[in-house]
Symmetry: C2
Subunit: 342 residues, 2 copies
DNA sequence: TTGTATGCGTTATCAC
DNA sequence: GTGATAACGCATACAA
């Protein structure tokens, strides 16, 4: 319990009159060390309060057992779910997880990437920021053969593992569901189309309509930044137009909620008069009134999968790797905001 | 851009026909190196794609520039806010942040602590788990003089920096508010009392009652783990008892929500018949129906402050430190679930 | 089964 | 202002 200074394998060796290498091997459960010696050594290590100096071991073995993670913002449900999943798998496999947030800022993302590289992380899991168009800082990892897994906001040009959600399918299912509930004039509050995920959601929406023989009406599609007031204003515009929609598929839950709020404020019944489906399954969507139908994005699973992929690659000793692009299925969660029939 | 193997300061030295020490000094902007040499070296380093091996430097200097963070669960708004705040400050000061979640499991928390110690993190910021009654694994840091900052769920026995929210004050204000709204039989759904924060919330609740001349009735206090069904069951028990309460102060928003759900399911009006106040200001609390009155905890600020404290201590070279306990103010946010008068 | 010797890349101490 | 050299703690190739 005292404030002893660091104990090393040499201290243990000296005390037991054996060599440091034997101690090193015993503590690593190397089978060539006899049972008896190993026990003596472990006992002494325990008693002396030995804690391995992992810095020294890392330095020696050129491995850090650390996975670097870069996300736009930690404090966001989807990303913190992914991180939680990564951490769980990584921890079980003896890896440490280092987290950085880019704040959707390219310069910060670049600095983080260089720092992670200098820290010799064994692998990197990342989702790029809104501003990221140059990718030299990410190519670095690819060039130096540092295992990498992109998720959600991926870089198509870099050949490595990628995990994405099937946005097209999710949007398709959401729209189809609204049609099944009897809606025929279905609007869409969409995101910025320079981001692939929003483009795909919009495409899924359009495809579901045309497959059902409904013509896509561009006046029913409003793109914006998907914040609270974007949804509110978009809904207002849609509802005040002549021939208003009887359903809205929103590209995220935030706009779905603000749509509902606008409708309720104006005495328009959800889902009877206007049915709503959102996207992402944010925690609030299942507790608001009415509960919001939405598309689940399996953040925790994505994190687990990303960690599994990267650890597998790290442990594969740089043997040739076949890069996978995993498309995670989406799930339609039907709740009150869209359910007209039972 | 090729797949060169690691470049070291020796490679740069060789190329420029100078010594490695000069290179090392130049790259660290050591002023004793001449301007000209420094520029040559930096240029060469840049051209050769040199990335310092931080593992080696860490090993040599016994510093990792890494802050370890232990939280019960990453994917939870309060904690991810704190982490976000920590990361922001740490990044600015050149520190890396390593995150682990204990899942409120003592054994995992212990293993994490030993791992962080073995990794020689420069400091640890942590909030303990529900099960944590033994604290040997945390004493370790204190004994070895590793800077430590507790936040939210602190350990009183360990003398170090602590950042807490004024739980007593928050609970007091919440309860007082319920009294002002005309409630007189106010119940409390509390957390496990081994955690100081819940003890303080309970004390604040009791004090507010007695200050108002209301006797504390122990049958109106139910302690549990504050999950969804804990709140549901506790409310059921409270409501089905004779002489049911006309208000409930819940120690978190989760139980506040489940209380509301139970009440609504049973046709009991919130806030008219039973008024509710929660704690934490979870994002959902402002979007559910009714919106939930609650106590705001400044997570992001707590994280920033924690990072500042620990970095200050790390940089102080173990000079005698005066440990601070910072009490962050709380704020009562009045919403629909408790507002009877306007 | 155990011991000896060596080196990982950097920084720090001393010398020049 | 610069260079030579040692040292950090561990893991491992090789020797015994």
């Amino acid at each position: 319990m005292g404030n002893q200074s660091e104990i090393t394998i040499h201290d243990i060796a000296k005390k037991l009159n054996i060599s440091a290498s034997t101690v090193s091997r015993a503590l690593k459960d190397n089978p060539i060390i006899s049972e008896a010696t190993r026990k003596r050594i472990k006992k002494a290590a325990e008693e002396m309060g030995y804690r391995p100096n992992i810095m020294a071991a890392n330095f020696r073995t050129k491995r850090t057992n650390t996975i670097g993670v870069i996300v736009p913002l930690i404090n966001r449900h989807f990303f913190s779910s992914v991180i939680s999943g990564i951490e769980e798998v990584a921890y079980d496999q003896g890896f440490t997880v280092t987290i950085s947030q880019s704040n959707d800022n390219l310069e910060k993302e670049q600095k983080i990437a260089y720092t992670l590289f200098s820290n010799r992380v064994d692998g990197v899991i990342l989702s790029i920021g809104m501003e990221t168009k140059e990718i030299d800082h990410l190519q670095l990892f690819a060039n130096r053969k540092v295992p990498m897994v992109f998720f959600d906001r991926i870089v198509e040009e870099i050949e490595t593992h990628k995990i994405i959600v099937n946005d097209f399918e999710g949007a398709y299912k959401a729209t189809q569901h609204l049609i099944e509930q009897g809606a025929s004039r279905i609007a869409h509050i969409g995101g910025p189309l320079n981001l692939k995920i929003y483009e795909n959601r919009q495409k899924g929406y359009c495809k579901a309509l045309s497959d059902a023989g409904i013509e896509v009406d561009n006046s029913l599609i409003i793109n914006g930044n998907l914040r609270r007031d974007d949804g509110y204003k978009a809904t207002k515009k849609l509802v005040l137009a002549e021939n208003r929609p009887d359903a809205i598929f929103c590209a995220n839950d935030t706009t779905a909620l603000s749509a509902i709020i606008f409708l309720q404020e104006n005495g328009i019944k959800v889902p009877e008069e206007v049915a709503i489906v959102g996207f992402s399954n944010e925690p609030f969507s299942q507790v608001v009134t009415p509960t919001i139908s939405t598309i689940r994005q399996p953040g925790f699973l994505i994190g687990k999968k990303a960690a599994e992929l990267i650890i597998k690659q790290i442990n594969s000793n740089k043997k040739s790797v076949v890069y996978e692009t995993i498309v995670m299925p989406t799930e339609l969660i039907i709740r009150e905001s869209s359910k007209r029939k039972k």
